[in-house]
Assembly symmetry: C2
Homo-oligomer: 177 residues x 2
């Protein structure tokens, strides 16, 4: 599995919808978001629980009930989202093999383990730079970029698709257009 | 498993030995390097095969026979080593879910899949910056930094430990000191 998994891809696409970037939608149910994008509903529901705990989305009430962004889209970075769904996943998991050198026996001297291993330090630097890149993009900036690539009719089509779903849940009838 | 695994940690420590940074050693067998550091011999042997294919180490002949660096330590970057042992492992594996949007049916329009997905582009940028960080460090620079942290007696102790192993393979006797 890649370090940044499809969980991040799934929820980032959902958040772009909720930010209005892809379609002008501001709230939607997890079920609709999942079926709109062809991703597993139960899995997406678990991911939204994580986003909710991280203060990225809030549950909404009413017939459209589902989730909306918990704060402005320009204050939610890609790093916030990745951290929320991927959890505390280091780029490199240092095993401290420097302490196992045979000449130390079972008692490695302080110089062997003091401070951060030189190799680990390089990996931490690489991780820091990766995280900086993810922190430089927000849901708002991604939404704006996505919107520029989509034709004008895309947004209304999505809104209509979601409204039809809400309407069919309400009483089996599609909403008036 | 972390994106950069313990395979990278194992071989980077070995290469620091072979670069003279940890001990002034220039060649050693995989078995000795593995036992010196308490890592699995067969696993390390497979990793050295990858390093050899990538032109990072070369097999040496003679009683000390094993491996030495294939080129100067300042021309081998941490990125070279990580790529050699981890293989072609993307930080993010884009599933192109943008093409699955329900309103497209089975026939996503060109605008939905043209170019790189906005989300994927952010991940590629993060990966590029991570790789740049790994490419800025070489086995020589790591070796120099490691050496500054080690006491003067460490190098001769390692050389002696390796010589004893070579000596015992030669005829069961430790070498004259």
């Amino acid at each position: 599995m890649a370090h940044i998994s499809s969980a991040s891809e799934y929820v980032l696409h959902c958040l772009l919808y909720l930010a209005g970037g892809k379609a002008g939608v501001r709230e939607a149910s997890v079920k609709d978001l999942a079926e709109l994008q062809g991703v597993p509903v139960e899995y997406l529901a678990k991911l939204f629980t994580k986003l909710n705990k991280a203060g990225i989305v809030v549950a909404t009430e009413g017939v459209k009930g589902g989730f909306s962004l918990a704060r402005p889209a320009d204050s939610i970075t890609v790093l916030d989202v990745v951290d929320a769904v991927e959890g505390d996943k280091a780029l490199f998991d240092c095993k401290e093999i420097r302490a196992r050198c045979a000449i130390f026996g079972d008692d490695p001297p302080a110089y062997a383990t003091d401070g951060t291993c030189t190799i680990h330090a390089v990996m931490l630097d690489a991780e820091r730079r990766m995280r900086e890149a993810l922190a430089q993009h927000t849901i708002a900036s991604l939404a704006a970029r996505t919107l520029r690539k989509l034709p004008a009719e895309y947004g209304p089509q999505i809104v209509h698709w979601l409204d039809e779903r809400v309407g069919s849940r309400r009483g089996g009838r599609p909403p008036a257009k």
